[in-house]
Symmetry: C2
């Protein structure tokens, strides 16, 4: 069977995660990488694959089955995904939850008009966590859902720290509060505030002679980013920073605490969790898995924009329906 | 919108769990209950619903959208599901893993020939656990999967205990070995034997004057049921038995320990778990949720046998696609 030919638009951490995931799936191959940088400056891990300017992607339509767009949600994807959906079957990991309906509408229009299929907001949240919220809430309609994130690096909060005067290096970990998770697991369905659910742990390398007390106060008081949380700021050496804080772990928990039965007195608990040593490598693995589903759904004639909610699980596996029923059901 | 009219075939613990789940979903209604017992001996929790002989189900075809068959997997479902799929859209929770391909073929043939849709092997294992195995293995192809069950009541093992001479009452709990789960969570991908993964805990009320040492030895040595496990047998009074062991809790864990990245050195861990105070009430909730999906898929013209693998998640929710994207993605 012919391999699914995947191209990557945007070769940062996520683009590289996608490339690495393709290597793990023998039914996929990397067909091209598109970049806004100088293509000659991009060094791939896969030999013999072309790196081209994003503007030249349009000339490659016949050589690509699925284009995975690895740009940022703030400004890249709202432009790129609808534009590229006119040319390719596209996948993105758009994660600005509040703007998903608008993004969906734009991508759906572009994909339908050009006869392509598109999938947006894939990854783990949105993505696998969304799926778990949907399954759990559909099964247990009387209940309460909780999402906890971490322990993991928040790029947005790390960027915010690095903008503080006197900060040379900085990283921020979002940490779920174990005690709050245990209360949820007990079945008591607590109301939890933002502060109850997560703490924020910062590691900072200060510039020589910087006022550390001032840095700490400024971080802790930062509106929306830190002021609603219990935040700790740890000053460390650059050596320690480079040795310990050079990874992008993340993860989290989706919990559904529901009640069933006569009088609705029976506790039922569903919990899903991820513990990821590398967020971009895992997200890339999810995107590649959905590229397999996309190729199959397109071959059945489907077009327009889809999300994880629209993809029957069997499409994701390299196994046939018979094999799946025999081995995994 | 018209409610989905559900009928139940077989009114034991699971049938009652289905009835209770229907009450929690305002888009569903219980249309009839079919039984092999004397219908007048069956007391429902729902007022005004007919209880009929299973043989009379054929006269109710126009009044039922989905029939949920709540028989046992050993002898009931292999006969009932194909036979009833000729008359109705049917759902079952067939859980004899090794015989699923054969059962699927029989049900698929009956459903296709009569233009019905059928779903088999729904519940949590097979069912939600199967889904989690499929999602996790598709996303992390390089890895190892583990399923642990419990702590929960195994009906088969409890029945086996009760067949031992001198046993008046008996119940058996399957318990996952916490230490083994922690090793899996560490990312080390251990090879685990049957004995490594689960222990079996029995609570027995002995007949007056029975030889307890003999009972204990007989239970512990029982081929296939107990001989491959570390088993404990606790003798208790009938009062304690009735007070403490009157529920059907269950649950378990599906874990995928995978590796990604350059050289495949990055640990990624996916874990799904259920903690259920009532196994039949939860299983009933899953079946009713899939009845919603079934009614929608049938209205789109689908026929034949499906499993959880074939059902796009969006079909399970009472929310519209727009609502799902806005609220749950």
């Amino acid at each position: 069977m012919a391999k699914t030919r995947i191209a990557i638009a945007g070769y940062g951490n996520l683009g590289r995660g996608v490339e690495l995931a393709i290597k793990q799936n023998s039914d996929m191959e990397l067909a091209a990488v598109f970049t806004r940088r100088d293509p000659s400056s991009v060094k791939l891990l896969t030999e013999g694959v072309k790196v081209l300017k994003l503007d030249d992607a349009k000339d490659m339509q016949d050589e690509i089955d699925v284009l995975i767009i690895c740009g940022g949600s703030a400004t890249d994807l709202p432009e790129q995904t609808p534009a590229l959906a006119k040319l390719f079957n596209v996948i993105d990991s758009f994660d600005t939850h509040a703007r998903i309906p608008e993004h969906f509408a734009n991508v759906d229009k572009a994909a339908k008009e050009s006869g392509h299929i598109a999938m947006i907001s894939l990854g783990w949240d949105p993505g696998l966590f969304s799926l778990n919220r949907l399954y759990a809430e559909s099964i247990l309609p009387n209940g309460k859902s909780y999402t906890f994130w971490g322990k993991g690096v928040s790029q947005g909060h790390s960027d915010a720290i690095r903008r503080v005067e006197g900060v040379k290096r900085g990283i921020q970990y979002t940490c779920p509060v174990e005690a709050a998770m245990d209360v949820v697991r007990s079945g008591s369905q607590p109301e939890l505030s933002t502060r109850d659910k997560h703490t924020r742990e910062c590691f900072v390398v200060a510039e020589e002679g910087a006022d550390k007390a001032k840095i700490e106060a400024e971080i802790k008081g930062m509106k929306n980013y830190f002021d609603q949380y219990d935040t700790t700021v740890n000053f460390i050496t650059e050596e320690e920073f480079d040795a310990v804080h050079n990874k992008m772990p993340h993860g989290g928990f989706v919990m559904r605490s529901g009640m069933t039965g006569d009088g609705e007195k029976t506790h039922q608990m569903i919990e899903y969790s991820l513990k990821l040593e590398s967020n971009p490598e895992f997200t890339g693995s999810v995107l590649v898995c959905y590229a397999r589903a996309m190729a199959r759904m397109k071959s059945e004639g489907m077009t327009g924009c889809k999300t994880a909610f629209d993809v029957a699980p069997a499409y994701l596996s390299p196994l046939s329906a018979d094999e799946l029923r025999a081995s995994m059901l």
